[in-house]
Each structure stands twice: as C-alpha cells, then as structure tokens.
Amino acid sequence: MRDAFSDQLYREALKDNNIYIVVADISPAGSMLKFRKKFPNRFINVGVSEQSMIGIAAGLAMKGKKVFTYTIATFSLYRPFEMIRDNFCYQNLPVTVVGMGAGTIYNNLGGTHMSQEDISICRSVPNLNIISPSDPAEMKSAVSYCVKNKKKETIYLRLGKSGEKNFTTKADDKWKFAKIRTIQKGKSICLISHGILIKMSFNISNTLKKQKIIPSIYSSHTLKPFDSKTFKKICKSYKTIISIEDHSEIGGLGSILREEAYRYKYDGNLINFSLKDKFLNDYGSQASLLKKHGISEEIILKKIYNLKK
C-alpha cells in the first residue's frame, strides 16, 4: 500500500507542479525515491521534527500548494496533533496527513509504534476527513482524490505498509470518496471493514462459500464523512452485520455503525470486531496480536456459526 501511495503521488506530481510532500525522516521506499530525485524542491525532509513538518506544510498550503505530510502514523498524527488541529483543520487547509503503517501493523516494534486510536481521535476534529483504503488499488484512487480534494478540507489518509494484496479490483462499484463500496454481493450476512483487514472478509467468505453461504463484502474506506445513506440500505438488507477493523473499539468503524444502527433502529445482529481498549503487545506477528484482541477469521466464523444455530 505504501508503494501504491508513493507511485500514485509521483504520477500526480508529474502532472501538477503544485504537489509537495513534507516528510519527517522516513526511509524513501519505492517510488518515494523517484519523487525525491525528480522533484528535489518539492520533497521536503525536515528531519525528526514532526511539529515543524506540519507547520511548514501549513505555510505551503496557505500559499496554494497541494501538500502531503508523511511519516509513520503515530508520529504523523499524535506528536504534532495540536498543529494538525490548529494549523490545518482550524484554518481549514486542504492538506493530506498520511499516517503510514497505521493500526497494529508495526506490532513487532511495540506500543509506541502502533496507532490503534487514530480514527477515533481524528473523527472528533472539525474539518478533518478520514480515508482508510482497503487495498493498494483503493489507495491509488484515494491519492488522486486527495490531490483534487474537492471539499478543500484536511484529510487523514490511513496507510497500511507493504505487501498487501488487491481485493477490490474486480468490483463493479467504483471507488468514490465518502461512499461505502460494494466489493462482493451476497445475502443475509454483511462483512464491512476498512483498511487491510478486508483480507479477513475474503478469507471468511471463502470458508462460508463451501457451506453455500455467500456474504456481502463492503469497503467502508471513508470513515468521515460517513456514508450513512448506504448504511441505511445495508441495515434494511441484512440480518447480520459484522464489522472488522484494525482500530480501537472506541470511535472507529464499530462505534460509527453502532451510532448509525441506533439511528435507523436496526434490529438485526450487529457485531463489531475491533481492538480492545487495551495496550496489548505481541512482537511475533500482527495476526497473533489481533487474535489477543479477539480478532481472527476463526473467531469471526465461530460467531457466525453460532448465530446460524
């Protein structure tokens, strides 16, 4: 996903010389290196100084530049949070804050490198939109949107890392900002997620297919503004709605769906698989950490089977 981001940004920058990227000492992997070589004056590395990364990006944006700030999610968002709020959001600047390796992706580096609350924090800030693409293909569409940024507001773009597969390329429903996307059309069960855990939806679906159960799979790639209209339709169509996310149970997709379901008086089963409100460590693999939080394909399948009984 990281490569998809930098590759798309590079393509956009070839067409638009107003695009700048301000980074805080992040290793220039993939196309980022290409960007840096081709546009040395538009690739600004401020060093390990996230607060000035945001301030400088704000200054550039106030002069009409299209700016992306980029580093690992915790450092991108948490360290300079007040600058993001005051300089970007309060002044309503169309800047994209890129949080790389968000959620629990950096589990092997421990809690200081995980950002399990990023969406929750961003959601409460006015003028701050949130996009969490489900795969590299969605990432490319999202980057193009961020460049255009029709709403002219700040965007938090939540990135995975490397090696994610594409899941959404065959979907008829095209990626559109602030629109829940149908990736697979099925019946009675709805699996909805954002970010990298869409792979769980597909693995679960593959297992269920053997028992002739075909769930629908949705990508809720934009979390703010939330596509309430489509979710209303989802509420009407499914007896069971299951959300899966690599984010805290407080303030993420699970929370949003509970708020929305209450609004629409949904009386089916709404089950949220989100991270517990706990600092948990597992340096082995992301999958084993997620399992400690109660998120795994087995656990989700078991829940579905229990409902069917």
Partner: protein
C-alpha cells in the same frame, strides 16, 4: 530618516491610545504585550514591508492581535466598525488573529506555531520576504526550535524573525525562568542564522538592524522591549499581561501618552 522616525513615534502613541480605548470596551486584551510590540509592528508594517509583502506577515505571538488590528485599520484594511466590535459577539475580530479576516495571514494564539508556518511561506516563494514576530516566551516551545533548525537546514534566507524580548511572561521574568535561552542572539547564530540585538522601542534601530542584516542567512532580531511601555504603572508588571485598566487607570495612562505626544 529623522522625520520618518518622528512620524513613527507619533503613530505609535496613537496606536497605544487606540488600544487603551479598546481596553475600555472589553475584558480581554493583552495590553502589556501589545505595548511592548508597538514599535516593532509599526516598523514592519509602515516602513519595512512593501505592500505586496503584507500577505507574508505572521504574528506568532497571537495574543497581541489587537495591535495588528489597529495598524490594519490605519492601513484601511480593517474598518473602524471592525475595531469597535473587537471581541464582541457581533464582531469578527477576536483576541487572537483569525486567517478568515482581511489582512490576517495565520490563525495563531497557541504559542510556538508561527515560525513553522512562516517557513512554509518562505519555502513557497524564496524570492519574497516573510516577517514573523514572536514572543520570547515562545523560545520555551520545542516546536520553535524545530522551526529554527528547519529554516536554516532548508536555507530559507527570506525569513526575518523579530523576537519581542520583553522578558516578562504570565508568571515571571523569562530570563529567570529560562536563563538557558540567553544570550538569544548567540543561539540563533549558532544555528546558522544572522542575529542582532536592538532597542525594541527605537524605530531607527529596528529598521537599521533589519536593513543591514546578512541577506545570505535567515535573520533574527532580538528586540529588547519593556512590557507595558511606556505607561508608568504598567511597565514590567506581570499583571498587565492580560488585565484591562480601570477608569482611573485609563485616564492616567491616557494623560501619560498625551504628554509624550506633546514632546
């Protein structure tokens, strides 16, 4: 030059009169800091900046926005009506500058953020000067030092930062609280900037120091000022960071300014 300076002196008295009048209509105004910055902002707006550079000014010590409003009214960017409604529910001008208002280029108020935004301005067009005024208290913010580093690292020669070194913050003297930031000019020089110290109430010194700077480097002017200057009972008294004068205090202060004006 001398005529220019005497006109500036009169202007600064008028600005302070205006600020005192505003203080009688509202409860929230930072008179001490606006009075210490008066000659600095006057020199920048009325002598140093070209008209097309005005969009490149940031008041990082945003709590002194009232002074900026008074000057912008003088320059006919804001109206008398705008000033009259300062800090009122039906007005647009608040205690801190808002980018949505005419002539104001950044929403500041939270200290330590202006210098980084100024760096962004400077980076967007290296040929145009950027002026930014900071309080000495902002040197206690880590983000200010990040910006000081970045500005030199990015070789932004078009930054002119002026520090209102009134040496007094909400609670006590900055030099007693944080002696480690002194001498301020040496800190900037060691970070690769050019820097000078001057009397911050002396327009001639402010202007000369800025015009004679080393144009191959970013520049920081440490303007030594007195908080509350030149009002006898306000000077160097921390209470005037935020306090509005009573009726009696107001008339004493007005008289003192009038006497200065007659000189």
């Amino acid at each position: 030059m001398n005529k220019l300076i005497s006109i500036a002196k009169r202007r600064c008295i008028n600005y302070r009169v205006k600020l005192l009048e505003m203080s009688q209509r509202v409860s929230a105004i930072h008179l001490g800091g606006t009075f210490s910055s008066t000659e600095i902002l006057d020199a920048i707006y009325n002598i140093l900046m070209k008209k097309n550079e005005r969009e490149n000014f940031i008041l990082s010590k945003g709590h002194c926005s009232a002074l900026q409003y008074v000057i912008l009214k003088d320059l006919k960017v804001l109206s008398e009506n705008d000033l009259r409604k300062y800090s009122k529910s039906n007005g647009k001008l608040g205690v801190h500058p808002e980018v949505k208002n005419e002539g104001l280029n950044a929403s500041t108020g939270s200290l330590g953020q202006g210098l980084s935004m100024a760096a962004g301005f400077a980076l967007s067009n290296r040929k145009k000067n950027v002026y930014v005024v900071l309080s000495d208290g902002e040197l206690q913010e880590g983000s200010t030092w990040e910006a000081i580093m970045a500005i030199r690292n990015l070789n932004l020669k078009n930054i002119i930062a002026i520090i209102d070194n009134n040496d007094l913050q909400s609670l006590e003297r900055s030099s007693i609280l944080t002696p480690s930031i002194y001498p301020i000019d040496r800190k900037f020089i060691n970070f690769g900037w050019d820097s000078k110290i001057c009397d911050g109430h002396n327009t001639k010194e402010i202007v000369k120091s800025i015009l004679n700077r080393d144009k191959k480097k970013p520049f920081c002017l440490v303007a030594k000022t007195i908080k509350g200057y030149p009002i006898s009972f306000m000077q160097n008294n921390p209470i005037w960071h935020y306090r509005s004068p009573s009726k009696d205090e107001f008339s004493i202060a007005m008289n003192e300014l009038k006497n200065l004006g007659n000189l």
